[in-house]
Amino acid sequence: MIGLISYLVFFTTVASILAIAVMGLNLHWGFTGLFNGGVVASFGAGAYATLILGGTPQAGHLGGYGWPWPLALAGGLVAAGVLAWIVGVLTLRLRRDYLAIATFGVAVTFENVMRNAQGLAGGAQGVRGFERPLQDVIGTGLSYNVFFLAVTLAALILTYVVLERLVRSPFGRLLRAIREDEEAARALGKSPTRVRLTSFVFGSVVIGLAGGLYGTFYAFVSPQDVLPILTFQIWAMLIVGGAGNNRGAVAGTFLIWGAWTASGWALARFAPVEAQLYTGSVQFILIGLVIVGMLLWRPEGLFPERLAPASKTADDRGKLEPGSVT
């Protein structure tokens, strides 16, 4: 039984970390309509910067500044934010699929830089030698994983609350206005470019937070962690959960990551021995089918976006409508 608990703690930690990243993407895509195809770049910037700033000195590459963990993590967020700002200034004039291609390129570039710049981040060997915070006090076993789960859940709840407040605020309405019709928003005197950039940077910082927690949890990050597959996984989670709904984003993460891991477990356990070797491939097919099925029969996701209650919207509109002033 202890094994099951231990595994569930571990699973929940990883799923929660991914859920934070999915909420970051949700701010981009779900609320602002930014087709971000480079989620891993922000995720990787957060993870790499956290480990480089907070790790022990390593021969041959930058790092080992030994910053206290909260500071190192903050450094990770800053790194993700700065990267997003640069990328955003350069690419946010692009729309939809063009933006997706550009950001995807940024993510691939990021992975290649990390793979080749051995002096910066250890090259293909990655960054290791990170001491997980408070590990010497709590120990390395289940108790530590429970502690880290608590930290992760706190971060998840904080992210959720902040994002929910944000999207319910006037700024949130502005995001949706730009998503639906940029010209109309501009006509109302808003600056879509600036708002898009703000949303892009803020969402990327949230994704960077997920990356920082991920790097901390594994005490290791390498270019293999920032391959395009991660972008695909995070998108799948958001689409299945329901873009434009943070609760959906979290639910979609747990569902997809649960299906991803449980299908591997179930196939390893119940598939006949001769088929064992092919379970990896079968798993890919199953996951693909789930996503295709969702897109065919429930494209709005499990938890579709819920717009603010009609009465409240009516009130707001009542104040603004020119007709009511006269």
Partner: protein, 419 residues
Amino acid sequence: MNLKHTTAGLALAAGLSALGGAAAAQDCTTKIGAVLPTSVDWGRPIAETAQFAVDQVNAAGGAAGCQIEMVLRDTQVDPKVGVDAAKALVDLEGVKVLLGAVSSGVSMPILTSVTVPAGVMQMSCCSSSTAFTTLAEEGKDNDLWFRTFATTGVQSAMGAKVAQDQGYGSVAVLYKNDDWGQDMARLIAADLEAVGVEVTGTVAINDAQPSYRAEVTEALGGNPDALYLALYPVEGTSVVREWLSLGGTQNMIVANALKSDEFRENVGMQYLGNVLGTDTASPRSESADAFRAAYQERFGSEPNGPGLANSYDATMIALLAMEAAGPDADGAAIAAAVPRVTDPEGTPVPADTAGFEMAKGILAEGGTVLYQGATGNVRFDANGDVSAPAVIWAFTEDGVDEREYLSLDDVDAFIAGLK
């Protein structure tokens, strides 16, 4: 007992109580875990070979009094997926021994966040990163980490020896752009310089590109006497085709990852006459022949492919150590028993069912054995690394042929001479 409880509990939890309690005391089953990239073309044979070793051990009556069941999980070469699979094997299946992974980028987070905290022995066939040696030197692996992939140092030293023996004055290096390839490129460049061979360039080869013309042209620019390739078969084939079509030399030195039928057939034997390869060697014993013969009987082909012999040895040594540690041993005890089955002073045992039976008898009497595996007389140092005898080989019409054999002492002497 513990194991069975976990299994039973799990089965209940999953609502599958029918599975619980099925195992009687007489024919018990011990699970070991394997996390390997079975969804990747070259990963599947590695897993097959591990299962092959398990089958041989089961034919000898299993290890530590029980039949062995290898629970295989796919890593998808994704660290998240691999770590999760390892965690599930350790927590849900209760394995004390974990085989894998292949990529160092997957093995490393498994080691730091799963096996070391849980006290499970981890034995990788193929992870080559020098970061593991550093980690072990820092004492962070709790002596639970082993790998049967001889350190890249042996390969690169032998590559330099070939260049020297062939009288090549200059060599260009093309390497797979991952942790293994980067290590190889760094080491081979240093070793070539040490034997007085000029390195005209080292060029990284990224996976899955449609063309490598730019990289090949860059390597050709230095006009080298020979080419050194630290590549895998798929990229190796594309690179060599472009290299030859652009008029590059047919003098090539290749690392063991290209010792593959796929590469030989796809490039064509007529271009590979001047290729010399290096590998860690099969020992001069019957066990290597036994392995080859048994492998051929089972799979209908020679064990040519990256990591196959290493995977076989990793599995065999892990199971021998389980046998030596006795029933209900934990991961640390099994890891501590590894020296008892790789003892240079011990009785040599071949790598097959008969050898395992023989080892069982000797270990039961408190003796030690020397496992003579598919990659040689495997011997781990304090960091869980192996060194091994080496062989220099060439391609032939129907496989590979050995050209020169260097004993462990020869290898060590040559490496010492480089320093």
